[in-house]
Amino acid sequence: MQTDALSATFAALADPTRRAILARLASGDAAVKDLAGPFRISAPAITKHLKVLERAGLISRSRDAQLRPCRLEPSPLKDVSEWVERYRLIWEDRFSQLDDYLEEMKRKEKKRGRKKQ
C-alpha cells in the first residue's frame, strides 16, 4: 500500500465522529439518515465525513440504490491497525524486559541499603 493512501487512512481515522461511523458500519450497512441519527450533527456534516471516509477507501457507497447505503471496507483499516499493533508489540517486548531489569535494580538497591545499616 502506498504512503499517500495510508496518510488518507490516518487522517480519516483522526476524527472521533468518523471513528464512530466506522464502528456503526462494522455491525452492518446503513443509509445516511440512519448514520446521522445517533450524532447531533446535520446530514450535510455527516455527508462531509462520509466523503472523507470514502476517499480514504474506508467505506463504499452503492451507486444504484436510492438510499445509497454505506458499507465498511476493512482493508485500509487492517493495514493501519496491523502497523500500530506490530509497533506496539515491539514496545511490549522491550518493556517486559525493562520490568525484569527493574526488579533486578530494586533487589540491588535493597542489598545496598542493608549493607549501609
Binding site: 490516518f10 483522526a14 476493512p74 509497533y87 506496539r88 508489540l89 514496545w91 518493556f95 525484569d100 535494580m105
Partner: protein, 163 residues
C-alpha cells in the same frame, strides 16, 4: 517464576506527526528514569528479544550524543542516534532521534516519567517532521523481524464501538 504484571503498552497517534507510547511500571520513578537513560542499563532491555543490541553508547549530558544499534536474525543492522536536549531527573528526557537508514528524517523524542503512588507512568512522544516520516517510523515495525501475522481488525472495531 516471576509473576507477569498486567501493565500493557498503549500506542496512540494523536496527530499526523506523532506516535505516543505509554506504559505503567511497578518501580519508583528514579529507577525507571535511570534505567531509560544510562547506557549500562539501556543495553539490558532496549533491544526486542529477537534482536541483539550490538552498540549502546551515550554521552549522557545536554548536548551529548547517543547511538544504539540493533542486529536482526539475518545479520542486518539498524542504528539509531541523536543528541540530548534536556535531562531533568527524574521527570523528563528530550532528545533527537535519527533512524540511520533514513538520515534525512530527524524526530524529537520526549519521555515523561510520572509518579503514581510509588509506581511510574512512562509516556514517550516521538514527533516527526512530516506525516510521511511518522508513517515510515510506524512501518519500520514491520521490518523489525516480526514475522507473525496479526488479524486484529475485529479487536480494533470492538474497541471503537465502545467509545
Amino acid at each position: 517464576m516471576a509473576v507477569r504484571n498486567s501493565n500493557t503498552v498503549t500506542v496512540t497517534l494523536p496527530s499526523d506527526y506523532e506516535i505516543v507510547v505509554t506504559r505503567m511500571f511497578d518501580a519508583p520513578r528514579e529507577l525507571v528514569f535511570e534505567a531509560s537513560l544510562r547506557p549500562e542499563h539501556v543495553r539490558r532491555w532496549w533491544g526486542p528479544r529477537h534482536l541483539t543490541m550490538t552498540v549502546c553508547e551515550a554521552d549522557v549530558r545536554v548536548g551529548g550524543a547517543y547511538r544504539y544499534v540493533l542486529r536482526g536474525p539475518e545479520g542486518r543492522e539498524a542504528g539509531f542516534n541523536g543528541v540530548y536536549h534536556e535531562i531533568t531527573p527524574p521527570e523528563r528526557i528530550v532528545c533527537t532521534q535519527i533512524f540511520e537508514p533514513m538520515p534525512e528524517h530527524v524526530a524529537v523524542v520526549t519521555v515523561i516519567f510520572e509518579d503514581n503512588d510509588g509506581r511510574t507512568k512512562l509516556t514517550s512522544t516521538t514527533r516527526h517532521a512530516s506525516k510521511q516520516a511518522r508513517d515510515g517510523h510506524l512501518q519500520s515495525g514491520m521490518e523489525a523481524g516480526m514475522r507473525d501475522t496479526f488479524d486484529r481488525l475485529e479487536e480494533l472495531l470492538e474497541s471503537l464501538a465502545k467509545m
